[in-house]
Symmetry: C2
Subunit: 301 residues, 2 copies
């Protein structure tokens, strides 16, 4: 079993959606990624929280078999995010961001984590992502995420990062912004031109695209749900399912990467069915297999 | 070979897109549908034009083997539409609509056309669509399209029409409006509840969805293009490829309808590559097969 290491945020989220709302619930990119990937392989987590971080959340993450030695508790308050999807389920409106202890996040990777074959650098400052990468030997499979803010303010660092990445995950608006191309095919080719082996463009309820070797490799719709409760964390859950599936696979070729994309979509389709990571509490491996099978059937002609 | 009959508009379009513009070129729902379907089967066309309709356009439609006995020339000017996609390639902004002779369109179906097994009722007044249907015996495969205007102003007639339809084609905004459901899965189920055997929801650059027997049957992305020149007619071209493929098939079951959806998408992907129906002038059947194969590969995991 190859281990995955994720470096990102563990947060307390307050969220309003058309379905309801939830206050100070467990969130953060590293939380969603690690729990999603834990259904496929062993996961190590590196993040920082404040002294106010509830023990029950720590236990919850650990209950999925995630190793949280790298979850450092520091003096101060935990990162908090408040968002609303009332106007548009596809796009969160940020009401408030309190970085708190996350503002000074300078992760030191525990020695025992340094052998991880797969590393996911969740959305943080690309200079920090590059700093983290230096702590590893080459020959790792690196996944990285980013966001509009870094694209606009740290483009050169982000390009250096992508050169070192195996998998780049961006949503379509980010890919268009970064590439300056409104056509999504051209945007995908641009991402590949920066050096990663695969570029994955996420399109929310419209699915995802996988690019490799200067061409599109797979286009998938999203799994169709009748009720979307809370889209928070869908992107990180997707990345967790994608990299978790690959970490479990014997090799990384076009076919396994295609299947990984479907597994990422399936995991994302579960997480949006409930607030926070609640859906995973009752999720079984056979539920994943069943939805994967029905998803494949739904996309095959 | 089972013949298809299409009843709709033949128009002169003036179009501006980010790529360029074209003035008074051949357009109209029946034009796009019939030429697209002509690559699969024989097509009969019923529409009306004015005395100003150029002979070269008549010859062009006929050059695809489309029977235009039903293309009536009346005193007055041809239907004209002017639109722009400069702000959004996914959505036309109408600059001007001149119905002209199309305002009094009361089609009489030529006797020789009445044996058509497949009938496509393009987007016109649903009362008129119902009036046309009365001229046929039962046991036909009926496809129908509509638009926001009829949904808002002739909902009851549209519901009566859908009850008689085999295939309903709407785009996602129309399906949401008609059903009152923002969730597209629920919108699809609503359409099926009105009585058609299959409901097809078109999502432009995001692909299409096929619903049958109260469930989703197929989700497809759109074929990925690096350059979209002019999206006009993509929906009717899609319907033409879909119904043309089925008319050529021996039976209509879930599998053939799935494949029909992919063929519809492939035909739509060709038409948007050029203005008007220009792309079809140099299209070969083997181009269709080649793109269909590459599209299937792009969507299979």
């Amino acid at each position: 079993m190859k281990k995955i290491l994720v470096i990102g945020s563990v947060a307390l989220d307050t969220i309003t959606t058309p379905t309801g709302s939830s206050k100070e619930v467990l969130g953060g990119s590293a939380t969603y990624f690690s729990i999603s990937a834990s259904f496929f392989t062993q996961v190590n987590l590196v993040a920082t929280v404040g002294r106010d971080f509830p023990d029950k959340h720590r236990s919850l993450i650990r209950s999925f078999g995630v190793d949280i030695k790298g979850l450092e508790a520091k003096e101060g308050r935990t990162f908090r995010w408040e968002g609303s999807y009332v106007d548009d389920l596809n796009c969160a409106k940020t009401i408030e961001t309190q970085l708190n202890v996350f503002a000074d996040f300078r992760p030191k990777i525990p020695e025992g984590y340094k052998n991880s074959r797969f590393i996911f650098l969740a959305n943080i400052d690309p200079d920090l992502q590059l700093f983290i990468l230096k702590q590893f030997k080459d020959n790792r499979f690196i996944g990285c995420d980013s966001m509009n803010y870094w694209i606009q303010n740290k483009g050169p660092a982000l390009k250096r990062l992508m050169k070192k990445a195996t998998f780049v995950f961006l949503n379509d608006a980010e890919a268009r912004l970064f590439s300056g191309e409104s056509n999504i095919m051209k945007a995908g080719k641009y991402l590949l031109s920066l050096g990663p082996r695969f570029a994955i463009i996420k399109r929310g309820e419209y699915g995802a695209m996988l690019f490799s070797k200067d061409k599109a490799l797979l286009l998938t719709p999203a799994y169709l749900l009748e009720t979307v409760c809370d889209p928070t964390g869908a992107g990180d859950t997707f990345a967790g399912g994608f990299m978790g599936y690959l970490a479990r696979s014997e090799k990384i070729d076009d076919m396994t990467v295609r299947r990984a994309l479907l597994h990422g979509s399936v995991m994302a389709s579960f997480t949006v069915e409930d607030f926070s990571v609640n859906r995973f509490l009752k999720l079984k491996k056979k539920d994943i297999e069943r939805r994967y099978d029905s998803f494949r059937k739904l996309t095959m002609a």
